[in-house]
Every structure is written in structure tokens, then in C-alpha cells.
Symmetry: C2
Subunit: 183 residues, 2 copies
DNA sequence: ACCTGAACACCGTTCAAGT
DNA sequence: ACCTGAACACCGTTCAAGT
């Protein structure tokens, strides 16, 4: 019951069911049938554990379609959003994990390669992909934060969010901008 | 020594000097010469306090220049970044505070008005401004997270970050994209 | 190799009681 | 009106000791 991968998997299940606020070392240990201190034999600290959870979430993204950088990059953004929306509070967790510098899966790897193959410089590709990833993470974080407020009953559930329309607008903006900052 | 505004001001000073991780109710109370429980007479909880700190930070943004929506929106992004960089961990604090729904200062108010005046619909203006704010907050959060790692000596300080060049690239992308999604 | 027990140094928050 | 004292219910983390 106790290798690094199965601990991260249990943490992801706990995240899905209870949210980031309930993902404590003690709750996770209880879910694993173990004491909290046992986790520290496998991970040096909670930050490293959350980095592993982030890696697990981001590894679920499928490969990008061929057929032009525009389609590939748009698909990447849509799939990244889908992968984040599939797990409670995932955007907040992944943002923090990426900032910690302990992750091994970088969500911008694929679009950077696509943009470089389409002729942009390494720096331009990196910066454009970073801007896009920031938009997706920020957008989904806002979506999931509002979902938390609705679950906590501080917001009514009937307010039409238009989340997907706003997301598509941002995607369009970033693609049009990329096309206009020519390689 | 104890109205809401002066408590928020003391919290901002503590943030600047020690960072978000050290901004606890107990540390803040000590800085105010008071016990932690005293703060709860003025603010219902820490989230509300941090929302007031976010408002204080964002209130420092100067007015936008006239002379075309492009210049105004670019200036807004540059000034928002400057205001966030002026306070330790401000991007992370402001992101969390905006997500809490307890803030009163919305950083996108000015650019939304600019874009609407330039002919975009209310929804288009809102979505574009939101995409831009997400980029700025995400970019500065990454800058300040790296600064934390450097201070903690987990990263060397000599790695040239190119933060400003990457920021300008994103600004150019978003402006070009906005211009191409015509009103 | 892997886990427990027990502690350390913290948190945010509540609330009766003081002034 | 404003604050203290004291507690409650948690945290992440360490480390000797067990098996």
C-alpha cells in the first residue's frame, strides 16, 4: 500500500472527493490506513507530494492533433482545461506545484515544440506557450473557485457563468495574437 | 491603533517585510501590539482581512493615459505588474483574494471601460480584460515565486530570468489578438 | 525497509470575561 | 466599544523506537 505512486494516487482521489482544503497529511494518511508520519518516509514534505499529484493530473493530457499549429495549440488549451476541470481544485494545486519547482511534467512542453516547428524562435515559443498556460490555469482557477463558493452556499447556483464562452474568447485572442507576432 | 484600515495597512507592511507565509493573525497581532483574537472584532476572518489588503494594493494603480485603447490597455498591464511587484508575494495574495469574492477593488474595471468605449461589447470587453489580468497575475506570481526560491537559496540568483522581456511578449500577444478580434 | 508514538511549534477561530 | 485569556480543533514536521 506504500510506494510513492500509490500515495499520490490516493491523494488525487482525496482531492477529487473532498477538495484541496481537506487534503491534509493526516487525512491522506487515514485514507491510506497509516499514520501521517509514515508519508514522510516516501516524500520529504507536503510540497513534494503535491508536485507528484500535479504530475499525475497533467499526465492525463492526450497527444496533440497534427494539421497546423493553430489547431494543435487550440486543442492543447482545450485539453488542458478539460484535464484540470476533471479534478476538484486542480488549477490551484497545479499552479502552486509548478511554482514550487518540484514538478517533472511541464504542461507547456508540447505547444512549445509545435510553435518552434512552425518557425518561431525558442524564446518566442516559450513565452507564447507560457502566456497561454497562464490564461488556462487562471481561467480554470476562477471557474473552480466559483464552484467552491457555490458548494459553500455563499453564491447561488443559478447564475449563468458563461465560463466556456469566456474561455473560447481568450483562446481566440491568444491564437490571433500569436499569428500576428509572426515567426 | 485599531480601525480596519490601519490593521490592513499593518498587514501590508508585514507582507512586504516577511512575505505571505509569515502573515499570520498572531504575527500581525504582535505587530499591532495586541492579541490575535482582537483582530476578529474588526474582521470576521482572515480571508476578509486579505481581501482588504488586496484592495489596498490595487488602489495604488494610477489612472490610464488617454490616446487610444492600445496605449491605455498596455499601460494598465504595465502598471498592474508594477503595483504587484512593489509588494512581496502580492500576485499570489491578490489572486486568492479576488477568488474569494470579498474584494471591492476590481483591477479590470478601467480596461473594460476603455475597451467598451472603443466599441467592443460588454462581454467582449470583460473577457478580454479578464484574459489580460490573468496573464499579468500569473506572470508576476511566477516572478515572485522564483524570487522566493532564490531567497530560500534553493535557486541560484545568477540565472538571468528575462522576466520583463517575457512580460512584454505576452502584452504584445494580447494586444495584437484584441485588435484582430474586431469590435 | 517501512511504520508508530509522541512530541514540537505552530495555525485560524470562538467566546466568556474584563475595561 | 474594544481587547484579553483561555481554550478548541486543527496543521506540517521530526525522530526515536518498534517490526
Amino acid at each position: 500500500m506504500a510506494d510513492k505512486a500509490s500515495i499520490a494516487a490516493a491523494a488525487l482521489i482525496l482531492l477529487d472527493e473532498q477538495g484541496l482544503a481537506e487534503l491534509s497529511m493526516r487525512h491522506l494518511a487515514t485514507a491510506l490506513g497509516v499514520k501521517a508520519s509514515a508519508i514522510y518516509w516516501h516524500y520529504p514534505n507536503k510540497t513534494a507530494l503535491l508536485a507528484a499529484v500535479s504530475d499525475a493530473i497533467l499526465s492525463d493530457a492526450p497527444a496533440l492533433p497534427t494539421g497546423g499549429w493553430g489547431l494543435a495549440v487550440r486543442s492543447w488549451m482545450e485539453q488542458l482545461r478539460a484535464v484540470l476541470l476533471a479534478h476538484t481544485d486542480a488549477a490551484e494545486l497545479v499552479s502552486a506545484a509548478l511554482a514550487s519547482g518540484l514538478t517533472t511534467v511541464d504542461p507547456t512542453t508540447a505547444p512549445r515544440a509545435v510553435l518552434q516547428a512552425a518557425g518561431w524562435s525558442e524564446l518566442d515559443a516559450r513565452w507564447s506557450a507560457a502566456a497561454m498556460a497562464r490564461f488556462v490555469l487562471g481561467h480554470v482557477a476562477a471557474e473552480q473557485a466559483r464552484k467552491r463558493l457555490i458548494v459553500a452556499a455563499v453564491l447561488p447556483s443559478n447564475t449563468d457563468p458563461l465560463d466556456t464562452a469566456g474561455f473560447r474568447h481568450g483562446v481566440r485572442l491568444l491564437l490571433a495574437g500569436t499569428a500576428n507576432v509572426l515567426p
